[in-house]
């Protein structure tokens, strides 16, 4: 666990700055040597969401202006989605779905399974960083490119396929299987150790005591 609140805040800021990706956050080690637990990860994600909201609405007038322009290009349903979820979905001519975040860079490729959308991977595409274009404007450009020329967008963007595909529960199943396998291996090692200890104790005994 974090030793101080500053350590937690630092991780939240690193997460918000996109220096690390959500998949990598579980590899982070606190200063006391412990790995980030599931509960701590949830706390980091919640705090990051507040931080992103704060950055997007309170601190950056450019971002507010950009989001206003973006909202003027969206349908009522998409605007509602931004208000409720922080992102919106678009469907392009090929039939593919994309999830766009006005307050973050990665646009995600999503698939619809039943009533829910699941992210398959993310695309990194942005203007020259020296231009300091706000995230809202990047969202505008992604939406316009995807709506008009999806092929060019896919050609220019760097795609990152997520390791964890959650839509068909394969990832959760593999996690469970790995845990069971690890438990069996741990048990086998414990049994072998117990046998070895027993052998050593037997060997140390007087021959008459063994009987």
């Amino acid at each position: 666990m974090p030793a101080t609140s500053e350590e937690l805040i630092r991780i939240v800021h690193v997460f918000c700055d996109q220096t690390i990706m959500p998949d990598d956050i579980t590899d982070i080690v606190w200063l006391d040597g412990d790995k980030v637990s599931h509960a701590e990860l949830r706390e980091i994600l919640v705090l990051s969401r507040y931080e992103m909201y704060y950055r997007s609405t309170r601190k950056q007038p450019a971002q507010r202006k950009a989001v206003k322009l973006l909202r003027s290009l969206l349908s009522a349903e998409q605007r509602k989605s931004i208000r409720n979820n922080g992102y919106f979905h678009i469907q392009v001519r090929s039939g593919n779905y994309y999830r766009i975040h006005p307050n973050m860079y990665p646009t995600k490729r999503v698939e619809k399974h039943g009533k829910r959308m699941f992210a398959l991977g993310s695309y990194c595409l942005h203007p020259d960083l020296d231009l300091h274009i706000p995230h809202g404007d990047v969202a505008v450009s992604h939406m316009l490119m995807l709506k008009t020329d999806e092929e060019e967008f896919l050609k220019l963007a760097n795609y990152r396929l997520y390791d964890r595909q959650l839509w068909n529960r394969d990832y959760l199943r593999s996690l469970r299987e790995n845990t069971i396998t690890q438990n069996i291996m741990l048990n086998e090692e414990a049994i072998m150790e117990a046998i070895a200890r027993s052998d050593a104790r037997l060997a140390a005994m007087h021959p008459l005591e063994r009987e």
Partner: protein, 113 residues
Amino acid sequence: MTILSILDSSGDTKLTWQHDDPKSVADARKNITDLKAAGYSFFIADGTPADEVTAGAGELEFRRVDVEELVADTPAVPERTVAQIDAESQTVDKKKAGRPARQAVAVPRQQGG
């Protein structure tokens, strides 16, 4: 009047020109050509039906256009004069004013990260 939103570090900068004013169109053509040289792409969002889009509903169609198409493009809905827009802004609540039925956006060159 056409309004072009140029995406930049301030959010966006508006470039406007009147179709019936040759000087205004020439200035706009020069600015847009400079933007094109700097790597910008141009998109037009058209609302259908225009009235519903203006009221905040309806759907927007997007298309990519070149410089000449953008400068020569005339709005599908009747143009309003500046006096009309001012009069409407005084009578209509700004939060419920909806959105323009037609918008043009200039997007800077993108690169994979």
